[in-house]
């Protein structure tokens, strides 16, 4: 059993989302240091506002302005802030019912310690220096001893240059481990050998192996060295240059059945003009220093394989 392999893997998307009229007004309002809510059919004020009444499902558009001050309805002290959370120093998560609102907003409270926080305490928004129309335009809440704001007041929801969308960056960091079958396969590749696994039931050789035969649903264990030579079973000509990929177009991407394998894997074909690649072409891998996988496959110089020898592997 080779040692467990590990590799860092980052999934990162800048999700671009459009806003409806209510969310647009709310987030634009935050940019202008104004907190808006929405009045439901039964007269309650929801902050943050939603577009549909949570009880009746009616569309609601009756915007109101509420205070930037409010009351903590519950809280939780966070001793160890995680990297993307709003404050880097210990803080309280809070649900805050803003003055004039009937529901609570989730945000964070900057306080010296848990003893300085309690349910029912009064707080106010601390605005971010640079505001873009996002929930983080409220940098955090802070303790506040002043007068409460009055009841909610009607608001048109109109601002110059309204925010109509947000870009929400989302990044998650993973450490991948490939599992038993793929680890063995990758370990063999380091010695420039390609190893598959044979299904104990149907005898098919899977390469690269994933530890299971998808036809029989049983574990594969028996290792079988395949290749290095193989046969092009089918191919396509790529005419679009991929970003950041240093390969001139057009080039050929092919399915290659390595000798002894029960199914084809894919790879690039080089060392031959793209329009001379054909089904049945015999190829061999070309390795580059420092790379775990063959860089590409090139003609081996053998005569083409008979169609009957690879027709089951198409």
């Amino acid at each position: 059993m080779p040692p467990v392999l590990r590799a860092p893997f980052v999934v990162e998307f800048p999700f671009t989302r459009s806003l409806g009229p209510v969310q647009s007004a709310f987030l634009t309002g935050l940019r202008e240091r104004t907190v808006l809510g929405v009045r439901t059919v039964d007269g309650r004020v929801l902050v943050p506002p939603v577009e549909y009444d949570p009880v009746t499902a009616d569309e609601i558009r009756d915007l109101v302005e509420v205070g930037a001050t409010g009351t903590v309805t519950t809280w939780a002290w966070n001793e160890d802030p995680r990297p993307r959370q709003p404050l880097a120093t210990p803080f309280a998560w809070v649900l805050v019912r803003l003055d004039g609102a009937d529901t609570s907003l989730l945000h964070v409270l900057d306080a010296p310690g848990p003893d300085a926080v309690r349910t029912g305490m009064r707080v106010r928004a601390r605005w971010a220096a640079e505001r873009t129309g996002a929930i983080t335009d409220i940098a955090c809440f802070e303790p506040y001893e002043g007068e409460p704001a009055g009841p909610a007041r009607p608001h048109s929801g109109r601002f110059p240059e309204p925010v109509t969308g947000i870009v929400a960056p989302a990044r998650l960091d993973y450490t991948c481990t490939p599992g038993r079958a793929q680890s063995r396969h990758l370990a063999a590749l380091e010695g420039r050998r390609t190893v598959g696994e044979r299904c104990p039931s149907c005898r098919k050789v899977y390469v690269p192996p994933r530890g299971a035969c998808p036809t029989c649903g049983v574990a594969t264990e028996e290792q079988v060295e395949v290749g290095p030579r193989g046969t092009v079973t089918t191919f396509c000509i790529v005419n679009i240059k991929a970003k950041g990929l240093d390969i001139e177009v057009p080039y050929v991407y092919a399915h290659i059945a390595l000798d002894g394998a029960g199914l084809a894997l894919h790879g690039r074909i080089g060392g031959i003009p793209y329009d001379e690649v054909r089904m049945g072409l015999r190829v061999e891998p070309v390795w580059r220093e420092g790379s775990r996988h063959p860089d590409h496959y090139r003609p081996s110089g053998e005569p083409d394989a008979d169609y009957d020898t690879y027709k089951e592997l198409l």
């Binding site: 989302r17 929801l46 939780a76 001793e79 609570s104 349910t119 993973y174 599992g179 299971a212 036809t215």
Partner: protein, 364 residues
């Protein structure tokens, strides 16, 4: 008889009895670096099939639950399909949810009469990512997710709301944790067993011991209808009713000290028709068990989480299915005659499923 205006969701209302006839799960562990998802899952699939004598090709319908965000890969469930022999083509479906909801889908499929047997499985490896960060991605993307409130933080807000309402205190939470891990000592699959120190506050008021372990695991269940169930299992766990309900995503709109969606699902599943003797509750946090007990009127006569529950092992995406499997196992073995199984999804018990399982009277 299933609740208001005949909107019930019991099997009998549809004229077909369906039962859990087999259940298997992994030994849940913090990491499974030496196994891919399908390698972790396959032994469990083989166990449920061998319990029933079925082979993959014999199963009428297959449904799974898992999450791409745990795997960090799009369409990750397709890789796991290697474990069920999906060639030649099978009737298959997947939910990007806990496997309890995959079981719900399979149950509905069997109710339609299109199939007599179903294989349901679920798996999750939390070890490759930072689970607390990963779970923030299921939150509302406009107002909540940009603040990255993690799963422990949101559960802590719920716990504090319960304390503020005078319905719990830290010693009571500690009692739930201690009982769960003590019971888990008899569960060979559990990740945390026996004496577990309370530890420091992770997010106050929740301490380390109030939170579930993070780990990897998988589970599988076989369902069968009518006489087929009796052929495959000596004492099938008949699903008398099952329902699931959801609440608003805005945390500040909800009363976090109650779980009205669980209550409603339980009413529709027929829970209150007769008492249950066992309840497997999917309560990853100690405070959530208290919320659920109260919302379901469970008193001291009901044995809650004899497996140790999610506080002993919480493989994300499988932990809810495991609750159904654990409840069914107790019926299979005769330890229970009528059991409740519950699964949850989303922050602070947002979405809840309740199933009521029964064994037939013992022969003789």
């Amino acid at each position: 008889m299933t609740g208001p205006a005949g909107r019930g969701t019991t099997s009998r209302a549809h004229g077909r009895d369906i039962a859990v006839v087999a259940f298997a799960q992994t030994r849940h562990t913090r990491r499974t670096d030496d196994m891919s998802e399908v390698e972790m899952l396959m032994p469990v699939l083989h166990q449920v099939l061998s319990q029933t004598g079925l082979r993959t090709g014999d199963v009428g319908f297959t449904c799974s639950g898992s999450s791409d965000y745990l795997a960090g890969r799009a369409f990750s469930f397709t890789m796991a399909l290697d474990g069920v022999g999906a060639w030649p083509p099978i009737s298959e479906s997947h939910v990007e949810m806990d496997g309890a909801w995959a079981l719900y889908e399979a149950w509905v499929k069997l109710l339609t009469g299109e199939s007599d047997t179903a294989l349901v499985y679920a798996y999750g490896k939390s070890s490759p990512g930072e689970l607390r960060d990963v779970l923030t991605r299921q939150l509302d993307p406009y107002y909540t997710a940009p603040l990255w409130p993690d799963s422990v933080a949101l559960a802590a807000l719920q716990a504090q709301a319960l304390i503020d309402a005078g319905e719990a205190d830290e010693p009571e939470l500690a009692g739930v944790a201690a009982r769960s891990r003590r019971d888990a000592a008899a569960n060979p699959h559990a990740q945390l067993q026996g004496e577990v120190p309370r530890g420091r506050h992770l997010v106050r008021p929740l301490r380390v011991s109030d939170c579930p372990p993070i780990g990897d695991g998988a589970a599988a269940v076989v369902l069968a209808a009518g006489d087929r169930a009796r052929e495959l299992c000596e004492r099938p766990a008949w699903i008398r009713g099952m329902d699931h309900r959801i609440e608003a995503h805005g945390l500040g709109v909800r009363d976090l000290t109650r779980s009205p969606s669980t209550r409603l699902a339980a009413e529709h599943a027929g829970l209150f028709e007769r008492p249950v003797d066992t309840a497997e509750l999917h309560a990853p946090f100690t405070s959530q068990e208290l919320v659920l007990r109260r919302s379901l009127d469970l008193d001291a006569r009901v044995r809650v989480n004899p497996s140790g529950g999610a506080l002993a092992a919480n493989p994300v995406m499988a932990a809810g299915l495991i609750r159904i499997g654990e409840a069914a196992s107790r019926i299979h073995s005769g330890e229970s005659d009528r059991a409740l199984a519950h699964a949850t999804s989303g922050p602070c018990l947002q979405h809840n499923l309740v199933a009521v399982l029964e064994g037939e009277a013992h022969a003789g």
